[in-house]
């Protein structure tokens, strides 16, 4: 990602639509008339109720439950304070979950996104069968996670799978990829990447097509090489999209569940387990609901802290005016 070049200069001010209060704009909302208050309440109520019921209430209940040793039956009574949290951070499996999440994040940022970017640039060129390739690369994203996972267990099924057979002609053993604790995480990463690189490719492609041709032409006319034009014109202008892609990727990895559950169940011997899988194991297999709640709260806090930090620090330019009111700019 590039540092803010001259391009972000005019952007920062956002003199356009967002910040200028229209005749019925921002200022009125601050002190609405009584009639509008009612209207506001009526229109907000359904969304607010759902939000409170489906988002806030579970968070509150789960945080409460996480302070108890509780098997889920009747009311929680055995208060243990922060023991569940201490236990999680002392548990080699949960610590492994954190480590694996980090590995997957690093992998997706250094391999998956660059590949998606490269393909997006390639498919932006004039190329025979361009729309066909676009379709093919985007297709995996349309599949559900469970379908994808089942598909790949079949492909890499030992002795029967296509992937296994082909790999054995080549002298490799792809059929063992999900059965070997040392390779299973690589396998999961490949499948997840296969499914999601198309999404990032399409996002980046769309962003690339939003960049006016003239900018690149001007750079080339001024004597920039193709690489320089990409590095100093295209890439900075793709910045907002890349930053959003990184955000989606990290949050998605923290919460990774379905794919792993169906592909490997977290195994063999926990080597592909993620936080969400561990949480499910404890909550629904072992009936240690208190402990599972603690894990879910840790996941939530990790996502929340990352999201806030990222919005505040990295996405600030991109979301200015949309999420924050720029008082000084009015």
């Amino acid at each position: 990602m590039s540092s803010p070049s001259t391009m972000s200069g005019p952007r920062r001010g956002h003199p356009g639509a967002a910040a200028v209060p229209g005749p019925r704009g921002v200022r009125r909302v601050a002190r609405p008339r009584p009639g509008r208050r009612v209207a506001l309440a009526v229109f907000l109520a359904p969304a607010l109720t759902l939000f409170l019921l489906l988002v806030i209430a579970p968070i509150v209940v789960a945080s409460y439950a996480s302070l108890f040793k509780w098997n889920g039956f009747n009311l929680p009574e055995n208060f243990v304070g922060l023991d569940n949290y201490l236990r999680a951070f002392a548990d080699p499996v949960f610590r492994g979950d954190l480590w694996r999440a980090l590995l997957l994040i690093v992998g997706s940022l250094t391999i998956q996104l660059p590949v998606a970017l490269g393909l997006a640039m390639l498919l932006n060129q004039r190329l025979a069968g361009r729309s066909f390739y676009r379709l093919v690369f985007f297709a995996p994203y349309v599949l559900s996670e469970v379908t994808t996972a089942v598909l790949f267990t079949l492909v890499f099924s030992p002795n029967r799978g296509l992937g296994d057979t082909i790999s054995r002609w080549l002298g490799a053993e792809a059929g063992a990829i999900f059965a070997d604790p040392d390779t299973v995480l690589i396998g999961v990463f490949l499948v997840v990447s296969w499914k999601y690189f198309g999404l990032y490719m399409i996002l980046l492609l769309a962003a690339r097509q939003g960049i006016p041709k003239e900018l690149n032409e001007a750079a080339l006319t001024d004597g920039a090489t193709t690489w320089q034009a990409f590095r100093h014109v295209t890439l900075p202008l793709l910045g907002p999209t890349i930053r959003i892609a990184v955000f989606l990727s990290v949050i998605g990895t923290i919460q990774l569940f379905d794919m792993v559950w169906v592909l490997t169940g977290g195994g063999p011997i926990h080597s592909s387990e993620t936080m969400a899988v561990t949480m499910y194991q404890y909550g629904f297999r072992r009936f240690e609901v208190g402990y599972a709640s603690a894990i879910s709260i840790v996941m939530f806090l990790l996502s929340l802290v990352f999201a806030l930090f990222y919005q505040r620090v990295v996405l600030r330019r991109d979301t200015a005016g949309a999420l924050t009111v720029q008082g000084g700019q009015r």
């Binding site: 889920g72 039956f73 379905d258 009936f287």
Partner: protein, 431 residues
């Protein structure tokens, strides 16, 4: 990388469990003590496919015809879906009226939470007609909380052709014999054993049976009571299992294999890809249905009970297994027990047995068993001198899952026999 488990659904998931107790006030079943008043029985069972699905339906219809005041709402559920749905319902404090139960640790939790009915007195008139072994998992502190309609045991299912090809003429009767057999089969270039490593529970069968043969039934029961598995007998069980694992007897990629998938343990057996598996009474039918031919290996399939271990305290006639039964929810209407009794008459048990999917628990219904494999299991079970429920069901869920996880670690070679008994003990003590 984006997963489709959004934060909302994830927390909803936890919230479903955690928030469930908030709803516990909402149960409101018609709790009439009069068996003649109009009433509805909610029945959840897991025989959601042929052949048992229509049999249950017919039995319910028959009961309704005889008792016009009773309505029976049947909800057939797939096994895993049932577990999840029941977990939510029981945690919300409103179990169905009549529902599938495997007994053991989960039933005990439901008993402790006051969610199921004590049936001891109601069933006294007819409970004597059942096999005592079958009833054991449903008996908690001397009281009966569930009634089994199906019972079976785990043993070795083997491919007679592959045994013959490897020059094995007799099935082994000791653990040393098993190891010898495995060596011979492997030397003949045949995969000796099919195992589903991903599912974990198939591997737990080995460790549990070995512990049972080495320490005897009492060792397993004592471990449950004292919450201590760190004994020489349990360590020895792990060491014997390690002897087997060291021979590398399992099919390629077994750590990633499931039990019932098209390339899993059952399919490997059903396609003739391995010489034996240690599995329950359902093995022949799952082998058949997951094999490529949909027929399995037919009459080439044989059964032998888990052999004794030299110097062990357990007898070869003690069986390890489990079955299916029904428990009755706390708010069930009065005639539920009567309806349950009607499902367990000799006639109805015989009908169930004739499908081949059920091994009857009512002694006199044994004549209804037509499938030869089922007959062998039933005979072994009838002559069993003791019975132990699967450890992952007998013990509290957390301990049972730890047994499964630990045995998987032992088989993968990451933990030693001495380490796994310590891990299991730690979890048992924390319960």
């Amino acid at each position: 990388m984006t997963a489709h488990l959004s934060r909302r659904s994830l927390l909803g998931l936890v919230g479903a469990g955690a928030g469930a107790y908030l709803l516990s006030g909402c149960s409101g079943d018609d709790e009439s003590s009069d068996p003649n008043a109009p009433q509805t029985i909610n029945w959840w069972h897991i025989q959601n496919t042929e052949p048992m699905l229509p049999v249950w339906a017919a039995m319910a219809q028959e009961y309704r015809t005889a008792h016009s005041n009773v309505t029976i709402e049947i909800q057939p559920l797939e096994n895993e879906a049932f577990k999840t749905k029941l977990t939510t319902a029981t945690q919300a404090g409103s179990p169905p009226d009549l529902f599938q139960s495997w007994g053991g640790g989960v039933l005990r939790q439901q008993v402790d939470a006051g969610l199921v009915k004590d049936l001891t007195d109601d069933v006294q008139p007819w409970i004597g007609s059942l096999l005592p072994a079958a009833l054991q998992p449903y008996t908690i502190d001397g009281r009966i909380y569930g009634i089994p309609f199906d019972v079976g045991m785990v043993g070795f299912w083997y491919n007679k052709d592959l045994f013959a090809k490897a020059g094995v003429t007799e099935t082994p009767t000791t653990w040393a014999g098993v190891l010898d057999t495995v060596r011979k089969i492997k030397a003949a270039g045949i995969v000796p054993i099919a195992l589903a490593g991903k599912d974990k529970w198939p591997a737990h069968n080995y460790w549990a049976y070995l512990a049972m043969r080495i320490g005897g039934l009492s060792a397993l029961q004592q471990a449950a009571e004292t919450k201590n598995f760190d004994t020489p007998d349990f360590v020895a069980a792990g060491e014997r299992l390690k002897e087997l694992v060291d021979l590398q007897p399992f099919q390629r990629g077994f750590l990633g294999a499931e039990y019932g998938s098209p390339d899993g343990q059952a399919a490997t057996m059903g396609n003739g890809g391995a010489a034996m598996e240690l599995m329950g009474q359902w093995a022949p039918s799952v082998q058949a249905s997951s094999s490529t031919s949909k027929k399995g290996i037919g009459d080439k399939l044989g059964f032998f009970p888990f052999p004794v271990v030299d110097g062990g305290k357990g007898a070869g006639s003690e069986a390890f297994g489990g079955g299916n039964g029904f428990a009755i929810g706390k708010d069930a209407p009065a005639s539920t027990v009567d309806f349950l009794a009607s499902l367990l008459t000799v006639d109805n048990q015989r009908k169930a047995a004739q499908t081949g999917a059920v091994l009857p628990t009512v002694r006199e219904a044994a004549s209804g068993i037509s499938d030869p494999n089922n007959k062998i299991v039933a005979e072994n079970l009838a002559s069993a001198t003791g019975f132990q429920l699967y450890l992952d069901q007998a013990y509290p869920p957390a301990v049972g899952q730890q047994v499964n996880d630990s045995v998987a670690e032992l088989i993968a070679g990451t933990k030693s026999p001495a380490q796994i008994v310590k891990d299991i003990t730690t979890v048992a003590k924390s319960q």
